[in-house]
């Protein structure tokens, strides 16, 4: 398979993707030593490969069926770990490398072409909901409020490892989680998603949270909650996958059917696979009535 790679001129499309990416990562890493640097923009289509140094990106392109990968490549650093990130526009998929050495990160306007990325593995880390659903802080007041919310959520997830959860029973954790989401919807979900993706949280707490995310009845955060539930079907932790499938069952939305099917194909635990199949059956039944 051949791949053509050529630089594209900055366009409004590029700017909007960049703005979204900068927003997401700047916002998430405020107070940390993060920086965002645009290296170069590429458009890839599947015809003639020219640059071996981006072979991993090539690999990702071949794993998708009919998308181009145009990306601002973003280097970011968090707690001493640096990564390369690029975005698949339209799909809102974001890929990032597993940690990359600090020394390879270019400064200023250096080109990505000078970096050999072939030794890094990329993983899909995010399928963000449409940009329109991502709230943006407009004023200092709002930013301060968001920081308070972030602290509140962090504390909640941190202290809840001590709590003993009982199925069907309301816990201090679930009460606070529901209250936060009901009052801050997408803002809260954004912070929670970040915690789930980039922080080490007790898997039992994650599982409990996912179950409650499916149970909350709130339109504004629905697609974000569904996204996070589907995302966690791919977790390497069995309790987290279990929480995700339970949350999806509670949400009862047929739009989750493809993600559940995919999870069933991949599931290695026989019993959990059976539970996923039961959920799939439920969703298919629900779809008949919609």
């Amino acid at each position: 398979m051949k791949i053509d790679i050529f630089s594209t001129i900055t366009s409004s499309f590029f700017s909007s993707i960049l703005r979204e990416a900068q927003y997401l990562f700047n916002r998430k890493m405020r107070r940390k030593t993060a920086y965002v640097s645009v290296a170069q923009t590429y458009t890839l289509n599947r015809s003639s490969p020219r640059k071996s140094e981006i072979s991993n990106i090539t690999m990702l392109a071949s794993s998708e069926t009919d998308i181009d990968i145009s990306e601002p490549v973003i280097f970011y650093r968090e707690e001493g770990v640096s990564s390369v990130i690029f975005i698949v526009p339209g799909s809102h998929d974001i890929y990032r490398s597993v940690p990359i050495e600090e020394s390879v990160i270019p400064q200023g306007e250096d080109s990505l072409a000078s970096i050999d990325l072939s030794c890094y593995n990329f993983e899909r880390i995010k399928v963000y909901p449409p940009a329109a659903e991502i709230a943006s802080p407009n004023s200092t007041k709002e930013r301060i409020r968001d920081e308070e919310l972030e602290r509140r959520i962090n504390t909640l997830f941190m202290i809840s490892g001590e709590e003993e959860f009982e199925s069907g029973m309301i816990s201090d954790f679930s009460k606070e989680l529901c209250s936060i989401i009901n009052s801050h919807d997408k803002n809260a979900m954004e912070i929670i998603s970040y915690l789930f993706l980039y922080r080490k949280i007790n898997p039992v707490v994650m599982s409990e949270a996912l179950r409650w995310l499916g149970r909350i009845e709130q339109k504004e955060s629905h697609s974000y909650r569904l996204w996070l539930l589907e995302k966690n079907l791919e977790s390497s932790l069995i309790y987290v996958r279990d929480g995700a499938i339970s949350g999806i069952a509670a949400l009862d939305g047929p739009s989750a059917i493809p993600a559940v099917r995919k999870a069933i194909e991949k599931e290695t635990c026989r019993e959990l696979c059976d539970d996923m199949k039961a959920v799939l059956e439920q969703l298919e039944e629900t779809s008949k009535w919609e």
Binding site: I170, R211, R215, I238, D242, A249, A250, R270, E271, V279
Partner: protein, 176 residues
């Protein structure tokens, strides 16, 4: 011969996952968390051989909870108790279904830590875990309430509200 039902907090604890660190004849520790004793007694429910009272028991236990949720449980042979010399007593259950409380609740009594571990091992090896999804549990509770098996007033407010807000409740109520 019937079986015993024990409610589980999470079926995942009982999955037959292979842990490389487990020795021969050992079981993981997590399942024991689902066998929490109170005054050295373990609460279980007797399920008839034809399992005709299984749904009644599940509904009754589910009706004791704050809100709707999936329901995980394990079934194990009643004979296990006699094999392990565990005393079984008919005691009254604490659910909103009086018939279930009276007829089907049992306490496995005088359980030592050693006995509990033996019991956990046997149940882990031979027990049958299962899960009822939240949606199914709500349906069951709607029917149980409308049939009068579980008085709706005895269900906790949030769960009651959930039951009464389902289209099922309205359909059943209007058809009866």
């Amino acid at each position: 011969m019937g079986v015993m039902l024990r409610k589980l907090e999470n079926r995942r604890r009982w999955d037959k996952v292979e842990f490389p660190w487990l020795g021969q004849c050992e079981i993981p520790a997590d399942p024991i968390a689902d066998l929490k004793t109170v005054q050295n007694n373990l609460s279980v429910y007797y399920i008839k051989e034809d399992r005709s009272n299984l749904f009644d028991v599940i509904e009754a236990i589910a009706a004791t909870r704050d809100c709707s949720d999936r329901f995980d449980y394990i079934l194990f042979d009643q004979e296990v108790c006699s094999e392990l010399k565990i005393k079984v007593e008919n005691t009254r259950g604490q659910t909103p279904n009086q018939e279930v409380n009276k007829k089907w609740h049992r306490d496995l009594t005088q359980i030592s830590a050693d006995k509990l571990l033996e019991l956990a091992k046997v149940i882990y090896e031979k027990g049958e875990t299962n899960r009822k999804l939240e949606k199914e549990i709500i349906k069951m509770l709607v029917r149980a309430s409308l049939d009068g098996k579980i008085p709706i007033k005895d269900i906790k407010p949030q769960l009651r509200q959930k039951i009464m807000s389902t289209p099922l409740w309205n359909d059943y109520s209007s058809s009866q």
